[in-house]
């Protein structure tokens, strides 16, 4: 149903793109993928949600844990192409304070690299 459609690295930033419902399973998959890179020294992760249309609070809370994990290594999590309902949900849950959001991947990479 929903999955990670791609992971790439550009200029030290790891971009994880997802597709579909950002539920617990997908969030865990993202977390695991990100952890692999974090363990290898990556500190900047960008999640591209352009193909994900909706999230639930469980998925979002796992993303919060990812943010904390990155903060422990003085890194950061960013988002690009957030559908507005996902952005709204993140805002209500308070996590937008802790990460940056960008219009699109290019803008994000410009800032992060």
């Amino acid at each position: 149903m929903s999955k990670i459609i791609g992971t790439e690295e550009k200029g030290g930033v790891v971009i994880i793109s997802t597709e579909g419902y950002l539920n617990k399973d997908l969030a865990i998959a993202v977390m695991e993928e990100a952890t692999k890179y974090i363990d290898n020294g990556t500190t900047n992760i960008l999640i591209n949600l352009s193909k994900s249309n909706i999230v639930n609070s469980i998925g979002a809370s796992i993303i919060i844990e990812l943010i904390e994990k990155l903060q422990e290594v003085n890194g950061s999590l960013s988002f690009c192409e957030l559908p507005s309902i996902i952005e709204k949900t993140f805002k209500i849950m308070g996590l937008t304070k802790y990460c940056d959001t960008y219009e699109n991947q290019e803008a994000a990479l410009e800032q992060l690299t």
Partner: protein
């Protein structure tokens, strides 16, 4: 209870991700009522959280029920589970720390989100089950 309001009734089996079936319905109903894209997605989000909550309350039961009541002024959605209910006076905005101690990391967010995304939220809970009623007005009141 006006008989005049058309109602769509869904019986949803408690299977992971089934809430998406409910959102499909809510999207169509929402468009039928000419609600904006923004309101439609807010309803979907709130409905997802309501379904997840209902799934949790249901324990051994195998389905939950969703009623979409369409009126001229608003869309009323009732999410009904037949679980054992809970003490509605205890529903607080999340206190994650206490909840995080267990593996239930998701608890509490649902209700906050529903309250923020919908115009009104009500709970009724008894030993026969819980009904969550949420309303999205067609016209903004504020």
């Amino acid at each position: 209870m006006s008989e005049a309001n058309p109602t769509v009734e869904l019986k949803l089996p408690i299977i992971e991700n089934m809430e998406l079936v409910a959102t499909q319905t809510s999207e169509v109903v929402s468009k039928h009522m000419d609600l904006s894209e923004e309101k439609t997605s807010e309803i979907s989000m709130a409905l997802i959280e309501a379904c997840i909550n209902a799934f949790e309350h249901s324990e051994t039961k195998s389905e939950i029920y969703i009623h979409f009541i369409i009126s001229d002024e608003r869309l009323t959605i009732k999410v009904i589970d037949k679980g054992k209910g809970f003490d509605t006076s205890n529903v607080k905005i999340p206190n994650i720390e206490k909840k995080l101690k267990s593996n239930e990391r998701k608890r509490g967010w649902g209700i906050l989100l529903i309250k923020e995304l919908m115009d009104s939220v009500d709970f009724e809970s008894s030993t026969d089950g819980t009904t969550l009623t949420m309303v999205k007005n067609k016209i903004n009141n504020e």
